[in-house]
Symmetry: C2
Subunit: 68 residues, 2 copies
């Protein structure tokens, strides 16, 4: 199967696991909705920093509040 794990990058540059085996990723405004293959759903205020599908990895970071 080809799901990815979703990680949140914290201030110290560490990646914290948010949700495993994610199938669906739907950004909406400053939030992102995730659903995994077990039917678990999660909405996170963040943006996508990088996706590496071969590594099964989606890395999020906090929204920038400064600027626009």
């Amino acid at each position: 199967m080809c799901e990815s794990n979703v990680y949140m990058l914290d201030n110290e540059g560490k990646q914290k696991l948010i949700l495993e085996a994610v199938d669906k990723v739907i950004p909406a405004g400053d939030e992102i909705f995730f659903k995994n293959i077990f039917g678990q759903k999660k909405t996170v205020k963040a943006r996508i920093k990088e996706i590496a599908l071969v590594d099964h990895k989606i890395v999020l970071e906090e929204n920038e509040t400064k600027g626009k």
Copy 2:
């Protein structure tokens, strides 16, 4: 392998293939950088509408120019 194909949604709701077998997805401002497993790179002015990993599909849509 677990790469996805990247599609752009046009005005008529049709999906046009942009790049196959994408591994890396890196958003940067109003653009998204893609790299596939063959080393092909592409940068597209768009935003992610939906990712369905089990379907190997990343769907993009045009940036909204109105509002923020």
